[in-house]
Amino acid sequence: MVIESLILTLEIAIIATFINIPISFLCAVIATRSNNETAKFLIDIIVSLPLVLPPVVLGYFLLITFSPSGLIGGMLDALGFEIVFTKFAAVLACALVSFPLMSRAFIISIQSVNKDLEKIARSLGSSNINTFFTITIRESKFGISGGILLGFARALGEFGATIIFAGNIEGVSRTIPLAIFQSIQTGDDQNLTLLILCSVILGILSVSINNILIQRSKKNK
């Protein structure tokens, strides 16, 4: 049970992280480079909302949106796809909950790059897009990596939205947090200890790597 939950947790968190990377990147580009104030305001709401709402509420929103009677779920149901209470539902729940952490880290890292570096690059013949990738992204790489890691770590510990949207199904959506919940409910102390140990080790690893990245980012400035 422990190994299965560990593998499932890592699998779901990794996929959720990969889904979040391009979306967070797009949000960060709009938030930091767009001249459209309305777009910036909307991005700020999109990025902040999942942070302030309880995960259970997010799970409920996902449930009503993706259930066969929901807006997107209805269309998917017509095409023969079912999302609710599947592994993909767990991935979506993890992605939504971890999204603000990753996108905010991206925004802060890109914003903290010295604008004069971009000006210099432009004067050296580099186009806007080339400057963004060769200077802005390169100089914020540690912050971006830290954001990815932070998002991944949050996905590892996701519980509330997952249990509402994906259920607590062994081998499908029973990630480590849900397995811990299950072990408490059933009084399975042996597995509970191992699961908590796994959870703590994963947490310590993530925070340590994140701290190393922050240190390297500071050293680089």
Partner: protein, 342 residues
């Protein structure tokens, strides 16, 4: 013939830039106090600020024309830009920094730039591992490597110590002699302007007010009593330097053939006497060319085969009874000569 023609207007809420002037080859200074519009002007030339009205053309190519709706982006203007801080790309080595804008078809060869700027030992280092003066050298080399038609310099020496400042001035002269790229040099340091510029435009409250020769700056605006006389000199022998056929003695031996030196105006003494009984290492006969009175002190501009500025007190000036075109004697100790070190 004018190389750069600027006729622009840019309005902000509490500031307006209105410039109409032309720049020819050589090193052109833009001198003015903080907030006078110097950096705004450079940013408009480089394409980082879009003027509201007017035209900018460099070597007959139009970069901005509000009537014809032309506004060439900064990356297509081929203008080198060196800022107050070196702004090297932090995660790139010196080598990568210099190569960033370099194209193989450039007529400027990278190895030659590295040699002139004496960067061979720094190429593998990261910006965080080199000094401020070295960083500014790399920034200049990086701008040069992009083969610019003009280099804009926005107070490039203002954050450097004296030795680094002299060293960079030394290199700037070398690159100007070698490549003859026009340089627009912005600063509010008179000594720097006199040391490097061929021609100076005064800017105040967003408008170009005057076009003067660099030495005239001393009469325009310098209430500071610590003026720096900066010269490019040639090594005669290890403790003697040649400046316009005069020999300046220095305190410590040097090896470089060409260097930049600085003599603080407060270390220069002027007397209206003959030098034949004075025992000092640097004594020069000459003529008192100008007297500029300030609130706190008096600046004497002396021609002793080279022009040197001395600061004296009002009391001493009154006692000495010196007049314009008097024969005078200029004295300074070799220990007061500051020499650039690469």
């Amino acid at each position: 013939m004018s190389l750069i023609n600027i006729n622009i207007k840019k309005y902000y809420n509490n500031f307006g830039l209105t410039c109409d002037f032309s720049i020819s080859n050589g090193i052109t200074g833009i001198f003015g106090p903080s907030g006078s519009g110097k950096s705004t002007l450079l940013n408009a030339l480089a394409g980082f600020i879009k003027p509201d009205l007017g035209q900018i053309s460099i070597q007959s190519q139009s970069f901005f024309d509000s009537n014809k709706k032309i506004n060439i982006p900064p990356d297509k203007r081929n203008i080198g830009y060196v800022t107050q801080k070196a702004n090297l790309f932090p995660s790139m080595s010196v080598d990568e920094n210099i190569n960033y804008g370099y194209k193989k078809q450039n007529k400027i060869k990278l190895n030659r730039i590295i040699d002139i700027m004496n960067l061979n030992n720094l190429m593998e280092k990261l910006p965080g591992e080199i000094s401020g003066g070295q960083s500014q050298k790399v920034a200049i080399a990086r701008a040069l490597a992009s083969n610019p038609s003009v280099i804009l310099m926005d107070e490039p020496l203002s954050e450097l110590d004296l030795n680094s400042k002299l060293m960079i001035l030394d290199y700037l002269k070398k690159i100007h002699i070698e490549y003859k790229i026009p340089i627009i040099y912005v600063s509010h340091d008179i000594a720097e302007m006199i040391a490097i510029c061929d021609n100076v435009f005064l800017i105040n409250r967003g408008s170009i007010t005057k076009n003067i020769s660099p030495t005239e700056l001393i009469y325009e605006n310098s209430n500071e009593s610590d003026f720096q006389n900066i010269y490019s000199v040639v090594l005669d022998n290890e403790k003697n330097l040649k400046l316009n056929n005069q020999t300046i003695q220095i305190n410590e031996p040097v090896e470089n053939n060409h260097l930049t030196i600085m003599i603080p105006s407060s270390s220069v003494m002027v007397a209206n006497i003959e030098n034949n009984f004075l025992l000092s290492d640097n004594v020069f006969d000459g003529i008192l060319k100008n007297i500029v009175e300030f609130d706190s002190h008096i600046k004497l501009v002396c021609d002793v085969g080279f022009e040197i500025i001395a600061d004296i007190s009002k009391e001493y000036y009154q006692k000495s009874n010196m007049k314009l075109n008097d024969k005078i004697c200029v004295i300074f100790k070799s220990i007061s000569v500051v020499i650039s070190k690469s």
